[in-house]
Symmetry: C2
C-alpha cells in the first residue's frame, strides 16, 4: 500500500502496527526510530522493521507514510525535527489519544506539500513496550481519523484504507469531538481507576495486603487500566484538560446524587440505575467490542499454583 | 462432611456451592429452597440438589448446615421463618456481602442451640441466576467468616473446612472490619462503575452509540461489574451505608486532588500516582487473585463476525 512507512516510537502501538504491516504485507520497507537506544535495539531484535535509526529525520526520508507513535508530549519536538526532511506528498499521521492538542503541536511544523491526517486507534492493553505488541491488536476495533479542514480527500482515504487493512474499522470526526468522546470512554475511566487504586493504597483502617487478597470482589477490574503506561497517561491529562474536566464534572455530580441515595436509603433509585447499566454492557458485547465470556473469560487459579 | 445441607436461595453463589458440593462429594443430601417457583424449577432441571421446596422451613429440617444465599434484604424474614425449625447443633451461615447488618438481621431470630457463623465468599461474576453458577467459582479465592463473640470454635472450624473443601482460602475477621475491607475492595468499586456507566448514558455531547463503539478505550472494563445483579447490589448499599460513605469520602477527596492536578497541569503528581498503581496490579497477580494475561486474556473479535 505504501512503498516505505516510517514509525517514530515503537511501544505497544507502534510495534503492533509494525507487526500487522509485516503480517499483511502492506509495505516494502518499514523504517523505525525511537529516542531510546535500548528500545531501538529491542525492536531490531524482534525484527519489527527493515531499518532502524535513533534520528527520526533519517527514517522519514522517502517515506510515503509517517506515523508518530511516541508519547504526545514529544510531538512538537519530533515534528519540528522531521518537518524539513519529509517527502513531498507524504502522509503524516499519529496514534495519540488526544487530537486538538496534536493538531496544534504538529500542524505548524509541517511543510505545505505533505498531508497531515491525525489518527487514533481505540485499542491497547495495559502492557507497554515493543515486546508486548501483537498484529491482531486492531482487529475488530475502531480507529478514528480527525482530518483538519482543507485536507485532500485522497490522503484521508489512503490512511483509512491502511487502518482497514490492519483489521480496524474507521470513523471520521473533528478533533474537538474526538477529545470529548475519548474523555468519557477512556480518559475519565482511566483517571477514576488510577484514583481508586491510589485511595486503596493509603488507608489506615484496611491494609494493603487485605486490598490485594480480597480484590476479587471488584477492585481488581480497575487495576488493569490503572497499570497502563504512566508517561503516556500523564500526557493525556496534560493535553485534554478541558474535555476531561467537563466529563469529570458530570461524573462527580452523578456520584453526589448516588451518595445521597445511599445516605437516605433510596433503594428504588439505586436499583433503577443498576438495572439500566446492564443494558449498556449488553450493547457493547453486541457491537463486538467486548467478550461475552463471564468474568472476561478469566481462568481461576487453583490454590496449589499460588 | 455434612449429612444434609440446606441452601436457601439458588442464584449464582448458591448454585455454585451446590455444584461444588456435588463435584467434591461433600454431603449426602442437598436441599434447595427459593421463593420463586421458576428458579426452583430451573434448579431441579439443572439437578443441583436432592430435594426442592419453596418453603424454607421444610428444607432446613434435619439439616446440619444451612446457608442463606438470598439477597441480604430477605435475611430477616427468612431467619424468622426457619428459626423454630432448625436442627439442634446445626450451623447457620450465609454468603452476604455485608456482615454487621447480617448479624443484626439473623442473630436475634435463631434459637440458642444452633451455631451462627456469618460468611462471605469473595468471588462472583457479573451473571446472576442458577444457570450461571459453576463448581470452580471459589477456587483460589478467599472466603471470610465473621463469627460473633461466644461462638463455639468447633463450629467455625467445621465451616472453615467446608469452604476449604470448596477450593477456597479462609480468613476470619470481625463483621465490622469485614464491612470496611469490602467497602473499598468491592462496594465502592461497584458504585463507581455503576456511576460512570450511568454518566455516559445521559450525555448530550456524546451519543450512546459512540460510547458503545469506542468503549475499548477503557470504559468497557467498568461495565462488567456494572452488570451485576441490581437487587443484590441495592441491598449492599442499603445495609453497609456507614463504611461505604467513609470510603466514598476518601475516594472523592483523592479525586478532587487529582482534578486539581489536571487543572493546573501538575504532570509530576500525575505520573507519580500512575506509576505507583502499577505495582498494586502486579501484587494482585502475584497473590493469584488476577490473571496475568494481558487485557484479561480477552480474545479480539474479527470484523467479519460482528
Amino acid at each position: 500500500m505504501f512503498e516505505k512507512i516510517a514509525l517514530i516510537g515503537i511501544g505497544l502501538i507502534g510495534s503492533s502496527i509494525a507487526r500487522a504491516i509485516k503480517e499483511k504485507n502492506l509495505s516494502n520497507h518499514v523504517a523505525i526510530s525511537t529516542r531510546s537506544q535500548a528500545t531501538l535495539d529491542k525492536a531490531k531484535e524482534l525484527e519489527l522493521g527493515d531499518s532502524y535509526h535513533p534520528d527520526p529525520t533519517v527514517v522519514v526520508q522517502d517515506a510515503d507514510l509517517v506515523i508518530i507513535c511516541a508519547p504526545v508530549g514529544a510531538y512538537a519536538s519530533i515534528s519540528k525535527a522531521i518537518g524539513p526532511h519529509l517527502k513531498e506528498g507524504a502522509i503524516i499521521s499519529d496514534v495519540g489519544s488526544v487530537k486538538e492538542h496534536v493538531v496544534k503541536a504538529i500542524g505548524p511544523n509541517l511543510p505545505d506539500n505533505v498531508h497531515f491526517v491525525p489518527g487514533h486507534p481505540i485499542s491497547g492493553t495495559e502492557n507497554s513496550g515493543p515486546e508486548n505488541g501483537f498484529a491482531e491488536l486492531f482487529t475488530g476495533k475502531w480507529s478514528i481519523l480527525t482530518p483538519i479542514a482543507g485536507t485532500e480527500e485522497k490522503a484521508v482515504e489512503a490512511l483509512s484504507d491502511f487502518w482497514k487493512a490492519l483489521g480496524s474499522d474507521v470513523e471520521i470526526m473533528t478533533p474537538k469531538h474526538h477529545d470529548m468522546v475519548l474523555a468519557i470512554t477512556s480518559h475519565v475511566p482511566h483517571l477514576i481507576a488510577y484514583n481508586i487504586v491510589g485511595t486503596a493504597d493509603h488507608l489506615e483502617s484496611v491494609t494493603k495486603t487485605e486490598v490485594i487478597k480480597f480484590s476479587a470482589g471488584g477492585f481488581r477490574d480497575f487495576t488493569r487500566i490503572a497499570a497502563s503506561d504512566p508517561e503516556m497517561w500523564r500526557d493525556v491529562f496534560l493535553t485534554n484538560k478541558e474535555a476531561v474536566m467537563e466529563m469529570l464534572g458530570r461524573f462527580s455530580e452523578d456520584l453526589s446524587m448516588l451518595q445521597r441515595a445511599v445516605r437516605f436509603g433510596d433503594g428504588e433509585m439505586l436499583e433503577e440505575l443498576f438495572t439500566r447499566t446492564r443494558d449498556i454492557r449488553r450493547s457493547i458485547i453486541d457491537a463486538g467490542q467486548e467478550t461475552d465470556e463471564q468474568d472476561f473469560g478469566r481462568t481461576p487459579t487453583p490454590n496449589e499454583e499460588k
